[in-house]
Symmetry: C2
Subunit: 309 residues, 2 copies
């Protein structure tokens, strides 16, 4: 069985895959293209080669192992039509993203940029406008692995952590869970909204003009999942009007975020370049998942993190 | 009984004190001085008026209620000699300071300044050097209320939180506690040191050349208690040599930190102007403590937060 890796996990790790009985070939995502060496692969271990690589020319392809949690980059029709199996790196980045959420809340409440600016200018000037998280209501859109790891980290902060999922079922680490139908009722009552939902067409611009308008003027919004969940144009209009204590965005409607976007320029917008998932443990955790599934695949056992398309 | 307040908590709160039977007078700390109206007070509710106010000229003074947690600003000899009672605001600022500790760890591990600089320049460039807290060893010097609130907040981060106190007695929220004698043995083994000890002469420059030298090259140091616990000259030498992943200092040997201090200029030093205790809840919590002790004092009951001098 031939497996193409678009990322080089190093000799030792790839040899461990070979020891499972696979023929392993590494072709970097930035240069991969169709051709005889690539097109006969049965397995593709990748993030997003689909703009350079046409999988309709890969008749043997039966399994795509994504190194990402999201799977919106897939050529969906082709994958569905041919029943190609897809697994993702579910949970593999959730811990650092959970940390990122806690950090972003704290940075907005503590006005970190103020202090960095003053340090640059060597100005000692106390900031009496900083807030604490105690007693605040934080609403997570989604109660999946990212939201759960964030909620777990927020446990000790004496805030109320609310999770929204389809039916409002209780989940560990959330003080309360609400259903999708109750969302708009809660949006106006909470101090912070954290977007941690997977993206699909029905969820496009879930956080729209109406949603943003319903939020408190002093509210915080954090998005660590997918940019298209937020209507950025509407968000910019509200920011122009002076709304929101702070906004932390790690993801955007278009990535890289175009230079023309007004989002770059707001002092109370905290931007990062889709970076929240990164940590020194990323390859270790990613590879654990890949290895486990290739072991299972070679034994014809049930795969983990199978994506329902 | 006459009580002088050097901060104006507002009519409603001061009337509540008057209802306890006190004569209340407000004189701001920035302008207070000795004189007939001040010198006959029995109680002084203040932070640090002692550079302007000579309490040896206040013969009726029996109780000083400090709005700070630290009490190193007191004219110690006079207070001890006359057995003046002193209470502090123990625990009153510990929650926001606990948040500050968690935030500082995260900002250093996630290299926040990098992202703020890139945002200023509208540059989208991923940073693969960011770390996570999972599995890291964090040593708190002190297991008092500040350290405890910080440790409580760090519970969900899957780090190992170690507390140092005099005898190594176990304390809630710490995964392990060690004694003062074991400190140097642990300093070289941990990824982060958080200084949360009260200051006194024996503790001067506890974190000295030898302590800093023993720390890991990639270690983090956070100080949220008193600046004089750290030998800043030695710290600057190590920073010049490239040591440390990051340093977060909210307190300094001299405050305001002089413009000449090299500490301002290091990118991996995160400075704040003794600001970590601030939150929108500060007056509420401070006043609760003051009210409780004035109630107890008028009933000749035992005071809370009595400082042992």
């Amino acid at each position: 069985m031939k497996a193409i890796f678009t990322y080089d996990y190093g000799q030792a790790k790839l040899d461990a895959i070979r020891a499972l009985g696979y023929e392993v070939m590494v072709v970097k995502e930035s240069i991969i293209e169709n051709g005889p060496e690539v097109d006969d692969a049965e397995i593709l271990v990748c993030y997003n080669p689909f703009e350079r690589l046409d999988i309709s020319k890969m008749p043997a392809l039966k399994l795509i192992i994504l190194s990402s949690m999201g799977f919106d980059q897939l050529p969906l029709e082709e994958v569905k039509h041919r029943n190609i199996l897809v697994t993702n790196n579910k949970g593999g980045y959730s811990k650092p993203i959970g940390e990122w959420v806690a950090m972003s809340l704290l940075n907005i409440y503590k006005d970190t940029k103020y202090f960095y600016r003053r340090q640059d200018d060597k100005i000692w000037h106390i900031n009496t406008g900083v807030w604490e998280l105690v007693g605040k209501n934080i609403l997570f859109l989604g109660t999946g692995s990212v939201a759960t790891e964030a909620a777990k980290r927020l446990q000790g902060f004496e805030a109320k952590v609310i999770g929204m999922n389809t039916d409002g079922r209780a989940m560990p680490y959330f003080d309360e869970c609400i259903s999708f139908d109750q969302m708009m009722h809660y949006v106006s009552k909470v101090e912070a909204v954290v977007c941690a939902l997977p993206y699909n067409d029905q969820m496009h611009h879930l956080i729209d003009e109406r949603f943003l308008g319903a939020m408190k003027d002093c509210a915080v919004l954090i998005n660590v999942s997918r940019g298209k969940l937020v209507d950025e144009e509407a968000l910019v209009r509200y920011l122009d009007d002076g709304k929101f204590m702070g906004i932390a965005l790690d993801v955007f409607e278009r990535e890289p975020l175009p230079k023309e976007s007004p989002l770059w320029e707001f002092e109370r917008v905290y931007l990062s370049p889709h970076n929240s998932w990164i940590s020194e443990m990323r390859n270790e955790r990613r590879f654990e998942n890949i290895f486990e599934n290739l072991k299972r695949y070679s034994n014809q056992a049930a795969l983990i993190n199978l994506v329902k398309l």
